[in-house]
């Protein structure tokens, strides 16, 4: 195995993906409720509470503005948690990957399975939040249906980035750095809670380098019934982050596990 080879993409990942699905199905109800609770508390607390003191943003109430951001942010968090903690448990603590790789399945297949799995799970939780937002009447445009296609892409992007971190993690503690140094800035700078344009210019420049900004830039207009600008650019940025993260993860996992 050449350590820097492109990841081999094969359908062999499917049985590994199904393994994770089977585990998840046992706890599906609790898992979805858990994923819904956090973003909805934000929507209620910040959206209705704090939002009632705020002016409208671009012609919509703050709670509707925030709800669109929460779809992106909670998809990101769900993907990240799965690709950090759960993947690390399967790789390092439970040695599930070791068992799988004794069968005719390669490390590349396992990494692809983890990527697709974390993206699937986060897409599901993002979709659940979207459904609740529809029910609350915070988004009523048909254009918001397009978000169903974007949520899996957002999941893929942040799963790939988190997997690359998992590949170099020594223990669960390591993930604290990722949350403090990466996730918190992403969540606060990338247009989830307020428009990026409110930031000082240098911070705006930083924000536009970060993937989550490109997610909110497409999802929010769609949720609010507007056609977003520069869709192709935003989607390409998300895809580029996904591809770079996945490639880095593949190389780093090989270095870690195939010595």
């Amino acid at each position: 195995m050449r350590p820097y080879a492109l990841p081999s993409m094969s359908l062999r990942f499917v049985p590994v993906w199904r393994r994770n699905l089977l585990v998840w199905r046992k706890l599906a109800g609790a898992s979805i409720l858990g994923n819904l609770a956090d973003p909805l508390i934000y929507v209620v607390g910040l959206g209705y509470g704090l939002g009632s003191m705020l002016p409208q943003i671009g012609g919509v109430p703050y709670v509707a503005f925030l709800a669109a951001g929460m779809v992106c942010s909670s998809t990101m968090f769900s993907a990240t948690f799965e690709a950090l903690y759960s993947a690390f448990s399967r790789m390092h603590v439970q040695r599930t990957w070791d068992g799988i790789m004794m069968a005719p399945i390669d490390l590349d297949d396992v990494v692809l399975a983890e990527l697709v799995w974390a993206a699937s799970k986060s897409a599901l939780s993002g979709t659940a939040i979207l459904a609740v937002i529809w029910l609350l009447g915070l988004s009523s445009s048909l254009l918001s249906l397009w978000v169903l296609a974007l949520v899996p892409l957002i999941g893929l992007t942040f799963s790939a980035l988190a997997l690359a971190v998992t590949a170099v993690a020594k223990s669960y503690d390591f993930f604290t750095y990722y949350f403090t140094l990466i996730m918190t800035p992403l969540n606060l700078l990338c247009g989830v809670f307020f428009p990026v344009e409110q930031l000082p210019a240098p911070f705006q420049a930083v924000a536009w380098v970060l993937p989550l900004t490109h997610a909110t830039a497409v999802v929010r207009p769609l949720m609010l019934g507007q056609v977003p600008l520069h869709v192709v650019v935003h989607v390409l940025v998300l895809l580029a982050y996904a591809a770079a993260g996945f490639y880095a993860a593949s190389v780093l996992f090989r270095r870690r596990l195939l010595k």
């Binding site: 393994r19 068992g99 790789m101």
Partner: protein
């Protein structure tokens, strides 16, 4: 036609050669034992043979396929029982079979048909719906063995299959392995239980510091390397006796802590000398463990 052929295999970690030029072949239906102290390179050799690690040099053919190039198709015909159980703790016994069978691309119906037989083999017929955490160490080991048979493999690798098991559990595993050999399966097993190797393996190799230091049937190894009689002596004055009289009576005298081991072709003079003294002793035939300790030394390995 060999099911496994290894030639001049080499692997280094951090400048240290862990596998330093190993060559061997395994014939179908054979049970081959790989013995060695901790850190001898046994597990690395197995991982190399499975294509889980790339070698630095040498060649491997597993099921007539070059490794690591065609490791995946080769592993279709191979079962593995790893040193540390890696059963899936999120699943029941039955689900472990189901999920593992899918990794081999076996259709779901075929897997479900195989499960009852494998449960029977593992002695877990009543535990199909049990979660893994509720199983004893012996049950987990049997399940790991049965799981390795889900693809009906021709060759089974076992890395210390009975380490950490009580005698009952160990004997049950041995019975199962004999059953597999009787079915014509080939087994490659690493162990540091000499008794296990003597019972199961027709041929074995002792490995130390990355090399095979001897190879043959258990009997051959004993007769080649060691005197047939061993007298183990304990007692207060044993060291004086060992440094004096014993020297002339035994072919070799070894001290280990408070015990003296005397190796001899003819034990009669030794026993006569001991009968005149207040020393406790045990006279027994030489076994594989004596060979192992002679060749790999008595110092602790970590």
């Amino acid at each position: 036609m060999a099911v496994l052929a290894v030639s001049d295999l080499r692997k280094s970690y951090g400048g240290q050669e862990v596998v330093a030029g190993v060559s061997f072949g395994i014939a179908p239906g054979e049970c081959f034992g790989l013995l060695g102290p901790n850190g001898a390179g046994k597990t690395t050799t197995l991982r190399l043979c499975l294509g889980l690690v790339d070698p630095d040099g040498g060649s491997i053919e597993l099921m007539q396929r070059p490794i690591p190039g065609e490791a995946r198709p080769a592993r279709l015909r191979v079962g593995v029982v790893p040193q540390m159980d890696n059963l899936d703790p999120d699943f029941t016994v039955e689900e472990n079979f189901l999920v593992y069978g899918r990794y081999f691309g076996i259709p779901e119906r075929a897997i479900r048909e195989r499960i009852p037989g494998l449960l029977e083999f593992a002695g877990l017929a009543a535990r199909a719906a049990s979660r893994i955490q509720t199983l004893s160490g012996g049950m987990k080991r049997r399940l790991t063995l049965a799981r390795a048979l889900i693809n009906d493999p021709d060759l089974i690798f076992m890395d210390e299959p009975t380490t950490g098991l009580d005698p009952q559990a160990r004997h049950l595993i041995w019975e199962r392995l004999k059953q597999l050999l009787a079915q014509g399966k080939t087994i490659v097993l690493t162990t540091h239980f000499m008794e296990e190797a003597e019972r199961l393996c027709a041929r074995l190799a002792i490995m130390d510091r990355g090399r095979f230091i001897t190879e043959g049937s258990p009997r051959e190894l004993i007769s080649r390397h060691i005197e047939p009689h061993v007298v183990e002596v304990h007692g207060d004055e044993v060291m004086d006796w060992a440094d004096g009289e014993a020297r002339g009576l035994a072919a070799r005298v070894e001290k280990s802590g408070e015990t003296v081991f005397c190796y001899a072709k003819d034990p009669t003079p030794l026993l006569a000398s001991l009968s005149r003294r207040e020393l406790r002793y045990l006279h027994r035939p030489a076994d594989l463990e004596d060979v192992f300790l002679k060749l790999t030394g008595r110092e602790l390995r970590d």
